[in-house]
């Protein structure tokens, strides 16, 4: 049954997943292209200097792209579910409701992780040719909270989408906006290093909120 759920989610997300990979990787590639242009025009030394002395990371355009990808993933996955009342049918399937809900969320998370992994691989492929390991890590460490924000954005939007009442949806949006702010407090390389494992656990725990919405949906809460 869970395989069937995963397949159902894949059917919903496959074209969006392709678009997300193309767009996010496109933005990452554009950042690298700008960096490569700077290398050509001003020399690799200039890039190293501004990275070391001014904490430049050259991928600033990418900052909110994973978040946007996460939010859109949740909208693509759960908006039709709620509009067509498919969730009601899903919850009547002969399978644990919790397992089904979390499998649906896992499908979205896996799509995003795959998308972000492609981004990172593209960045690694270029950065390792022009930068030493330390400076490549600088860039990836600055991007790590942005990618976690993508997952947080997905799980928080899923929570809001699955919520049956507009009153709690609006409150959820406000809470979500404040939670997401935590991921964008600094773009200094390695600033999040010690906090990142805790932030990752917290991000995954955000999936619990969707279960709250589903229980309210099951209880028949309405505006």
């Amino acid at each position: 049954m869970l395989k069937a759920i995963l397949y159902k989610e894949w059917i919903k997300l496959r074209w969006y997943a392709l678009l997300a990979v193309l767009v996010t990787t496109g933005v990452a590639a554009y950042c690298l292209l700008r960096m490569d242009r700077a290398v050509t025009l001003r020399g690799a030394g200039h890039i190293w200097e501004v990275m070391v002395l001014k904490n430049a990371i050259f991928i600033d355009y990418l900052q909110f792209v994973p978040l946007l990808a996460g939010v859109l993933t949740a909208l693509v996955q759960f908006m039709p579910e709620m509009q067509r009342k498919c969730l009601k049918l899903t919850l009547h399937l002969p399978c644990s409701q919790q397992r089904m809900v979390f499998t649906m969320l896992a499908a979205g998370v896996l799509v995003l992780v795959a998308c972000f992994a492609v981004n990172v691989l593209v960045m690694l492929a270029y950065l390792t040719t022009v930068l030493p390991a330390g400076l490549t890590l600088n860039i990836l460490s600055a991007a790590a909270p942005w990618y976690l924000a993508g997952l947080a954005g997905y799980l928080l939007t899923a929570w809001v989408c699955l919520e049956p009442t507009w009153r709690v949806r609006v409150a959820g949006l406000l809470v979500g906006a404040l939670v997401v702010r935590v991921y964008f407090l600094s773009a200094v390389p390695h600033a999040y290093d010690s906090f990142l494992p805790w932030l990752a656990v917290f991000t995954l725990a955000l999936s619990l909120l969707s279960w709250l919405s589903v229980t309210r949906f099951k209880a028949g809460r309405q505006d």
């Binding site: 070391v52 407090l185 600094s186 999040y192 229980t215």
Partner: protein, 342 residues
Amino acid sequence: MTRLSRFFLYFILVVLAVWQLPWCYAFLTVKAAPQRFVMYSSLLGDFLLTGYEEGIGLTRHDTQGRSYTEQEVDSLLPMFYMRQLVADERFPDSLFGQPVSPREVQQTSFNFRMRPSAVNAPASGIYFLLESRPKRVELQMPDDAFRFTDEGVEFIVMETNTLDAGKSTRFTEALLAKGFRFPPRRVAGNPTTMKEYDNGYLLLDADGRLFHFKRVAGQPYVKALPLPEGVEARHVFVTEFRDHKLLGFLVDSRHRLHVVRADGSIAETGIPAYDPERDDFTIFGNQFDWTVRVASPGMTHYYALRADDYSLLKTFDMPVDGGEIPGLSFTSPYDQYVRPRF
């Protein structure tokens, strides 16, 4: 599961409240703290406080409360207001029995600032070693960068992102020959061309011993700088002041500030305590005295030091109304890390 989910939502709400409510309150009730500029005057033998007071305007007075006019302050701080005194044709020919000239003032005056956020910051581990005896007058950034490993120092050619094995070996051997033990605990330097000359780096090796490391005519220059008895170095800062008298500053494990002279000798200053990880630190120095500001949380300390032997002349403490509201914060003015803290 429902109970756990509800508990997690309450946890998020509490965290957001403890984080955002104090921030909102501080944002809405923020008031400009009165700023005072404090300098020691050797002519007066006291600190001069210049600042703006609500309802009064600009005030200039000493720690005893005596008020001074703008012209009097200029005359009492001739090293600091040298240009104004020269423009007014009031710059003295001599001070304390020594002849002084505007050029000499320019050569011997300096300021130095170190913020805790610069000390408590992640480091990339990549450094640039400038040529300290360049053929041209202006300094130039090198074509390579270096990093320390557990075994030595590695130079990487930036254009090709490849290791310069020969140079790495040469510089590693020079360091090892002077007894340096890798990896260093601290690496301090100012790798910029926006200065008149280059003093290279001050290094604390794995055993906490101090070394001066620079590049002279393409060759490694390494000098071990013996620390005074009982001094355990924690932080080092390189300086490149115009008078070439100093290599830098050193702070030991007991928060004592030491001066590293150009000849490598180390002298303790009269400053009772300075913690680079917590205090904002500023020096305005001239050939006669230094005004040192150590801004700790809740209190700003001002110290006047003699410029020749760094002994303490006078102190002045000014309480700071932090006005901070207790709460959760993820960032801090004292470091560049993001992590929760109360």
